[in-house]
């Protein structure tokens, strides 16, 4: 194995092993050796985050572990990103994400955000307890093509429908894919309120949006 491959492996391992300090020097060494930043991101950091997500799906990792893995990934990203070439910047699909009004639980939403960023999406995070109209304003202002709605509370599911109704009323619905997720939500519910899809986990959310966007 040559030095580049070893460093890529080490970047990936730093993410999986929650080495959020060590990854900084590893990423610096990778750049100093003159290897392309884009490959460090894709075959190092993203590879590690995907492995961490697998461990999460298999119940070997839980939320604390996944959060630290993502810290490591972002720390590595901070080192590599300034070294990206112009051609590495492709137009990213923008996703507006938020927990709908009436609910303030955001651990699940944060995991979805991390996994979507890992997969190369640009996230606009509106936070928690977000009024329906704020999603619409954000779509207008950013030109986002995906809206991701989360809730853990069955009482706030009505507000997901309101977001879709507002998108319809504003004539924005055709250009925007709406995905929903969270404890009380089901695929049947998503269909019932006219959403484009439902995902049961953060990893599934990435697959769902990839499918809807056609990548």
């Amino acid at each position: 194995m040559d030095n580049k491959e070893e460093l890529l492996k080490s970047l990936s391992e730093c993410v999986v092993e929650m080495e959020d300090d060590k990854i900084i020097s590893t990423a610096e060494e990778y750049i100093k050796s003159g290897y392309p930043a884009i490959e460090g991101i894709l075959y190092g950091l993203v590879d590690g985050m995907n492995k961490a997500a697998d461990l999460y799906e298999n119940e070997e990792y839980f939320i604390p572990e996944l959060l630290i893995c993502s810290d490591a990934m972002y720390n590595g990203l901070d080192v590599l990103r300034p070294h990206l070439g112009k051609s590495d910047y492709k137009q990213k699909t923008k996703v507006v994400i938020g927990v709908v009004e009436g609910d303030t639980h955001d651990i699940g939403k944060n995991l979805v955000k991390i996994m979507l960023e890992t997969a190369g999406y640009e996230l606009i995070d509106l936070g928690r307890n977000v009024p329906a109209v704020a999603f619409i304003d954000s779509v207008k202002n950013t030109g986002a093509s995906v809206v991701a709605l989360a809730t853990l509370m069955s009482t706030s599911t009505d507000n997901m429908k309101e977001v879709i109704d507002l998108l319809n009323r504003e004539g924005l619905r055709e250009n925007v894919k709406v995905v929903v997720g969270g404890g009380p939500i089901s695929a049947a519910f998503a269909k019932q309120i006219g959403a484009d899809g439902y995902a049961a986990s953060a990893v599934e959310a990435v697959k769902l949006i990839n499918r809807l966007i056609g990548v």
Binding site: F62, P64, I107, S154, T155
Partner: protein, 358 residues
Amino acid sequence: MQDQMTPAQRAAAIANGSEVDRLPCNPNIANGVARVYGCKISEFNHNPKVIAEAQMAAYRKFGCDGLRIFTDLFPWAEAMGATVAYPDDDTADLLKPAIFSVEDIDKLHPANPYKDGRLPVQLEAMKYLKDLAKDEITCSAGIVGAFTNAFFLFSTNKTLKFIHKNPEAVHKLCRVSLETCKAYAKAALDIGLNPTISEPMSSCTVVSPKVFREFSLPYLKELVDFIKSYGSNPVVHICGQTNKIWQDVVELGIGGISIDNVASLKECKLAVGSQTKIMGNVDPGGIMYSGTPQDVRTKTLEGILDAYDSPKGYVIMSGCSLPVETPFENIQAMMDTVREVGYPVCPERVREMIQSSK
């Protein structure tokens, strides 16, 4: 259909193995009692009499086997310095944790339940409730466990990461939380209510069983032992999936374990039913809030069939606190189904009832 016994008589009879009129059932109405009583939820923040009367109103309407003073998850963190938002007519929510830097952990003090935040309001509510409930129904005092409270003192995300990055800090947060929990539990016991412990952050949906055993279980044990030393035996509720930690929790020698709808009642019965009473677990969102009375009936019957023969007893319950706007007819459907099944439970008849209700 009328109950033939009071909840207190029913509980006593079950405890000594006598005949009863039906299985105990606690829909876990929570702040929805405001809808029964006709008050705003924000009144629970300052008016102890209203808390107690609203609980009593729910009991009178539905005949549920359990009343609890427990308005939200945050009075203990609030009493230690956290900031809580009080929506006009919804459940209180954590706005800001008590501290923002790890150095400030040492500045945290255990709360004084007679003085700090809304804790005195809750204690007053317990006295009113005790007077109203007399010997008809035993009342409990809800409390969050030390591990869960730790997250409200120092931001959830940061505390989650500290589990690996600064375990000593998490232990410190748990330790000071535990002192608050004990002081509050003691105050409730002095009034004559039995503490029940909710530990949502201990869920296998959030942290691994290994993390639970290292950071939550020791404090849970200390709190349970403390409560038991006063002759009361707390029920423990943990949200989400919990199958991998049932054994740990039950080995504390608790009065019962209450499980959420994502866990399996049948599996729970087989695993720990011979050691403690099991309670659960109709889906509070998908069925109780969003379903029809028919859905509630079916799920209640399925739960009964899964767990009626649990060796140490079974209480039909929702998987977690009900959403505030849960339709009354769904709560009524749960109670009526349990009454119709009666006692002793005849599994063939329950199966027939499930068949005919489909």
